[in-house]
Amino acid sequence: MKVIKSSQIRDAVSRLWGEANFELPGDIIDALRKASRTETSPAAREVIARIVENASIAARDRIPICQDTGVPIVFVRIGRDIRIEGNMVQAIARGVRQATKQEFLRASMVNDPIERVNTGDNTPPVIHVDSEPGSKLRILVAAKGAGSENMSAVKMLKPTEGEKEIMAFVLETVKAAGAKSCPPLVVGVGIGGTFEKAAMMAKLACLRPLNRDKSTGTTRFEQKLFGEINNLGIGPAGFGGKTTALAVNVERYGCHIASLPVAVALNCHAVRRKETVLQ
């Protein structure tokens, strides 16, 4: 059985969480450039140009893309033929602590939602664990800003409702977010499952890479949502324009005969995610 030491996990989380905050993913930069070509409003084009310029300053000078260096969200997929030596949860927290200090990240987490004392080191991270076949350990680290997190929403629709009502809820959520969520957004929609399953699917959907191959390309419903969201006119930074969303990703799952859960997870244009595989 393959052994992975918790110290390897700590170092991987530390590196990924730092890098996520300095390096905007290439697929996001490509989507921004593409969006800029379709914009006719000078204000919208200027905002997109500033976002791209900001990304290059951040990567060059290792200064965070955004001052809100985010909630550290760590998704771990553990291969079933792996044994982890040591405490994985503690190792992840140590990785977050290490990068916060070494990379001059902002301390944005409090110990408790009511007491609200800043922990000073961005702990506790939010950790999601899953398993898969094989002997690899996959780690995805997302730095999630609160501006867009605060405007995300879950709604339990009636089972007799459908695409029309889902679309209305997605549009209502994006509209209420306005400029607060720092558009252009990546919108993740989770449909089905249960209350928490829908939220989890939506979150993973808004972290999904935009450059998927054609075989798994966007669905008709995703394209329809994308078109409607971009007709809202909110635009980059809320300054007006055609680019309110860079992409809409939808995930679906079976659900109860009495339920139709829908979750909408919003990600600002500063989509910060980094992945690695330990083996």
């Binding site: 900001n54 200064i63 955004c66 001059f104 607060k180 980059p236």
Partner: protein
């Protein structure tokens, strides 16, 4: 349009929703926790740790600077979380606020009543904006960390006027969701 702080009545009367501005001079910084403290002081009639007359508050919680830099990443945070505290601060003499996103109707009206302006900067470009801030120091509430009360020196910091002293709202007119969106645009075009 280049403007310098402190903001006078004359400066704010020349600012209209949709105007692009570059702000230079001394600007205060505060977000949620510092606002709560300032509001408590105002409500109890105690003195504030800083003078507000003609000042601008930037809603920001910067990242720590790397050695040799004035400030870390420093973009705007969501302004609406400060809405409940803003009218009292404007009444106390504050002339401008700077953040991102729409304000409540109460704040829009308070901007008219107290002759103050709400500016927005582009969110999520804190690395870029940090280059327009030449100095940063904590003037109160150091224990709050990034949420302390700050004093910055701005050098051509880019922003846009969202709410002016005439009651106009640039976000609403852009997104076309405001009642008088078309009217606002026409008036602006004819200026």
């Amino acid at each position: 349009m280049k403007i310098s702080t402190p903001l006078t009545r004359e400066i704010v009367s020349g600012l209209h929703a949709g105007d692009r501005v570059s702000i230079s001079g001394r600007v205060l910084g505060a977000r949620d926790a510092a606002h709560k403290k300032l509001a408590e002081l105002l409500a109890s009639g105690k003195g504030l740790p800083c003078e507000l007359h003609g000042q601008v508050i930037y809603y920001v919680g910067p990242t720590p600077p790397r050695p040799g830099q004035a400030i870390g990443s420093a973009g705007p945070t969501t302004s609406s979380r400060m809405d409940e505290y803003t009218p009292a601060l404007l009444e106390a003499g504050l002339r401008g606020t700077l953040g991102k996103g729409q304000r409540s109707e109460r704040v829009v009206q308070a901007c008219v009543k107290y002759q103050a302006v709400y500016f927005a900067a582009i969110g999520g470009i804190g690395a870029f904006l940090s280059r327009r801030i030449t100095s940063a120091r904590v003037i109160a509430y150091k224990e709050l960390g990034t949420e302390a009360l700050w004093e910055f020196q701005f050098d051509d910091f880019p922003a846009i006027v969202i709410n002016d002293i005439y009651g106009e709202d640039w976000y609403r007119s852009q997104a076309g969701t405001g009642k008088d969106a078309a009217g606002t645009r026409q008036r602006r075009d004819s200026q």
